[in-house]
Symmetry: C2
Subunit: 628 residues, 2 copies
């Protein structure tokens, strides 16, 4: 019962992804690694998520008729949270609709000139007076006389005198922000003959445990010009961070192999995005990386053993800035590579980037940022303070420890819903289902809770215990056995040679994962003296967040059940969006440092209430607290 996928091509990023008919453009963009602004929580009211759909668009919605003018609609402008895809589609995403866009940098009354001052790379074309016996100022000081006091990467100097003279002292100084205490003082990293000021690029990467995503930014035009993603090749050494830590801790050779693996993949992405944009890799002058603490350690070749054992201590909290040649990145060898600061061993640079991209610290009311995965990171903003924690949810959300669980890749049932008296599902990749991923498990559990087939404590009704209200087609799927099971796809439908089912044990795994996240949310709220309903906004970030249905996540208690659904919004890959901001703005880097420092890190396992809250969280919410 799977549905055929439709290709959706995004410009200017040049990416194509497949989605099922009826999916919103916003969902398609999220799958393409393109994060569109949705401040209203996809209610179709703010109009910030506008895109231009060139072809393949579904009908104009009421919300769009309200939010957009006739001229805009005629021009193909649509709200990506409302408009669906009904045929192979081409979508143009304006820079202003992107999370972490250049426009975000410009917000808050800052002028383009001020943006120039905060840029991590500045190119300045100068025509210097040639030296004479009366004016014998040295070459570098001659440049400084024109552009002000800057530092210099020493290996620029050997070729500088010849390069300056070859072009009559007319050239472009490339100045990059440096790390450390003198970060505010840019350093000369290159002198290019003639005026190259218009060719100035940056790359930003999200180093996920599973997926690496990167974008290429044109700093001169202020625009994203390419995007790409790939699997993190370190998955060959283990699916989760602990497996990676164990492998890398075997010795320097293993650590080096893992570092090389991720760097090779990053270089591959660089090749892809520079090729797509038709630019020379040497014109990328700054690169940023955000990832969890372990991924960042491995990227830098830092031994991660201490991250795998209590008390899970990283080597350094601050951001790191190193030269690209130290990491053998295929960009300008003296490009400044910026790696995000971290909050703790399990609250890493991806979370800091997320806080930054979501502008969490600028919220006016209690706001929660949550990234759900094997490790869930939760940050609460309330009355000027940030509290962060990580919850070890385990691999259930990524299909781990689930009988027929799998990652959200081809063949995975990723969405389950009730329609016309039966269960329906979507499969990723236009194929027969071979298993189910975390989002389908959440969907199915939520639906079965609604149907009364699963009880609040997680027990599954046997065939004889199914409520009378349940339609026959669904009732027929309830099976007996060790604790019961529920059939999603029959053996005939399945591509796995057997029926795809959910068992009582699968539900238990989901309960443990959900309980950990819920306990984290509850403890953070308690520390802040808040009730769940005080939350005015919940930002769900990360790859997994893109796939889950809010109502279902609330139904199982993963997200606060008490909240109106409209307060929950998906913010997408905030790690990449934050990396983007840091690639385009030095001020974003300073903010990231401040955010990392100021976020109060709570070690949940040390909280005396943790175990009680965890046990509480294992139970699914009763129907009467659910806002449906």
């Amino acid at each position: 019962m799977f549905e055929k996928e439709l290709p959706v091509r995004f410009a200017p990023q040049g990416r194509t992804v497949g989605v099922v008919p009826g999916a919103t453009v916003l969902e398609a963009a999220a799958r393409a690694g393109i994060t569109i602004l949705t401040p209203c929580g996809s209610q179709g009211t703010c109009g910030k998520c506008r895109v231009i759909v060139r072809e393949g668009a579904g009908p104009v919605t009421d919300a769009e008729l309200e939010a957009l003018s006739t001229e805009e609609l005629d021009a193909g402008i649509a709200l990506s949270c409302q408009r669906t895809v009904e045929a192979p589609a081409t979508v143009e995403v304006p820079e202003s609709s992107l999370l972490g866009s250049f426009h975000q940098i410009l917000e808050g009354g800052r002028t383009p000139l001020e943006r120039g001052l905060t840029a991590p790379v500045v190119k300045a074309y100068v025509e210097l007076p040639e030296p004479t016996l009366e004016d014998g100022v040295p070459d570098f000081e001659r440049l400084q006389r024109e552009i002000g006091s800057v530092g210099v990467e020493p290996d620029v100097l050997p070729a500088l005198p010849g390069a300056m003279r070859a072009n009559g002292f007319k050239g472009t100084a490339v100045l990059a922000a440096s790390g450390g205490a003198d970060a505010s003082r840019p350093r000369l990293i290159e002198w290019e003959a003639g005026d190259t000021a218009a060719e100035c690029y940056a790359a930003a990467f999200d180093i996920g445990t599973t997926t690496l995503g990167g974008v290429l930014l044109d700093l001169h035009k202020g625009q994203e010009i390419a995007a790409a993603s790939t699997m993190n090749p370190q998955t060959a050494f283990g699916d989760d961070v602990l497996a990676r830590i164990l492998h890398a801790s075997q010795g320097p050779a293993e650590l080096n192999t893992m570092q090389e693996a991720v760097l090779d993949a990053v270089n591959g992405l660089l090749k892809e995005i520079t090729g797509e944009a038709g630019i020379a890799p040497e014109q990328i002058y700054t690169v940023t990386f955000a990832g969890n603490t372990t991924m960042q350690h491995l990227l830098m070749g830092i031994e991660p053993r201490a991250l795998g054992e209590a008390p899970f201590v990283p080597v350094m909290g601050s951001s790191m800035t190193v030269r690209a040649d130290m990491l053998r990145l295929n960009v300008h060898p003296r490009a400044a590579v910026y790696v995000f600061p971290v909050i703790g061993g399990f609250v890493g640079g991806d979370t800091v980037a997320g806080i930054l991209a979501a502008n969490l610290d600028e919220a006016q009311e209690p706001t929660l940022l949550i990234d759900i995965g094997t490790n869930g990171e939760i940050v609460l903003w309330h009355e000027g303070g940030l509290i962060g924690a990580s919850c070890a949810a385990g691999p259930a959300f990524e299909g781990g420890r689930i009988g027929q669980g799998m990652r959200a890749t081809t063949g995975a049932i990723e969405k389950v819903f009730v329609r016309d008296g039966d269960i329906h599902y979507h499969v990723i990749g236009h194929t027969a289902p071979v298993g189910l991923c975390g989002s389908a498990l959440i969907d199915a559990t939520a639906e079965l809770l609604r149907l009364g087939i699963i009880g609040p404590e997680g027990a599954m009704a046997g065939p004889d215990e199914v409520p009378d209200t349940v339609p026959p087609a669904i009732r027929a799927r309830v099976g007996d056995g060790a604790g019961g099971y529920f059939e999603l796809a029959s053996a005939e439908e399945s591509g796995a040679g057997e029926a795809i089912v959910i068992t009582r044990k699968d539900i238990s795994e989901l309960q443990l994962a959900t309980g950990a996240i819920r306990a984290g949310i509850t403890i953070l709220l308690k520390r802040a003296g808040l009730a769940p309903t005080d939350l005015q906004r919940v930002h769900v970030a990360g790859g997994f967040g893109n796939y889950i249905r809010r109502k279902n996540a609330q139904r199982i208690g993963l997200l606060p059940s008490e909240l109106p659904e409209s307060r929950i919004g998906f913010v997408g890959n905030t790690s990449l969006a934050g990396a983007r901001l840091a690639a385009a703005s030095r001020e974003a880097r300073l903010r990231a440092s401040a955010l990392a420092r100021e976020t109060h890190h709570i070690e949940l396992s040390q909280d005396p209430e943790f175990h009680m809250q965890f046990v509480d969280g294992i139970f699914f919410p009763a129907e009467d607290v659910i806002n449906e």
Copy 2:
């Protein structure tokens, strides 16, 4: 008529040199590359140049009886400017008698604690509390919590977590001054297990066009512990800086060859001094280099072509700080390598180091610092201002363009004097003479001027024109020929197979060289509104300065003839002494930067008076202006 040389061994530097009997210990030390303080100008009055002569000392002088107590004399203490060497000798030079010594750093009321704050390398042994779940501060921030805010060389981080844990968080942080605007903020360059604070070394080098000199400093004890010198192997590519520039400008391969040559020689010296002191090269955490602008460019691999053409512009005036591994130096790979700031294309880091070592800017009265060589550097201090210039003297002082001229190496007549009615000479290296070096040419010319054999305009008397007062043995040495000649050594005495003579042409070359230096001095004095007699002190620096006789240099007009000889002092290798100061003191580096910036550079060839003064300087001074 050469005299046998005596070996003089110096401790703790472990160097042995040969001198003629009757030479002062100060002269022997200068030859060993050890520069002893002589603030009174070797008058034997200040007592600062004291050494301990273990054996081989000549008789105690009247000046020593005056300056030293009986106990001191009994302990072997001598004034190095007074005491002669009469037999193979062993001399101990206390740190306090060295120019650029740790004691110099401590002067001006600074305490040892303050010295610690200014040290370019600080080792701090710490015992950090081990991380716990309650105290999960990252490793690097844990260290900072103990020692204060520092930066970090990024490649320290990969091994830091393991190293800290392997030793229970007890270890020694090695902090080195970095370059650039945050020079005041040291950077962590190493974490060593246990307490290694007592093993902390620095190396300082003078990169001369001809000779490389280096010393090893024990920063913990505050003592020089080894010294060595060697030829600059770049001499294979030309004797003077212009030849080097020409060779290096042929292409990247040639430049690289020349850089490798000097770096190999420096690594050789490092091997020698670390071997002598029995320390590991990896425990050298900072290295300093002072040399002329061209030598510094070649050392750093910077193309020097612009230094060889008007307007002779260096790539950078400021000091440079790079990591040792960038230069492949055999010290700690992250050691901070400091290269002196320069004043101009021909007034380089060696001059800045000289100003620093001679404390020129702390003089109370008009003071001149002069380094005589192929290129003469002159700096005048007067009323709070420094003026510097370079004079192209040409190669005559180093034996170049002199008929039988040669460098001051084995076989060179290096000293000429009249005794018992005849000419006598010293030869370097206990051998028959094969030529004469610059100091002998100055000596001979001065004596011949006194005898009336050379006239003020440089003409040599023919055999018939020699004044009657000239003793017969000297008269017999006057020869006829193209402009006349004077025989220093007969064909029988000579090791060259022919008589060693001075010709009219040789005198002309000396006049040109002297004229250039004198014109420089005169113009600097004029700019400052001073007469020569206003100079209260003249510091003669550099290798050549060690060999010349003040009276003779005054007689030919090379040094101001009008001054009492006592105002002229030899300060030795101030380039190396300045490099030493910078190796031991961060404050010295800051002072060097200020001195380089504040020294007003005069381009002599641009001075309208230069040519007139040059022509004036060619004439030897009349007898009545000479203070003899």
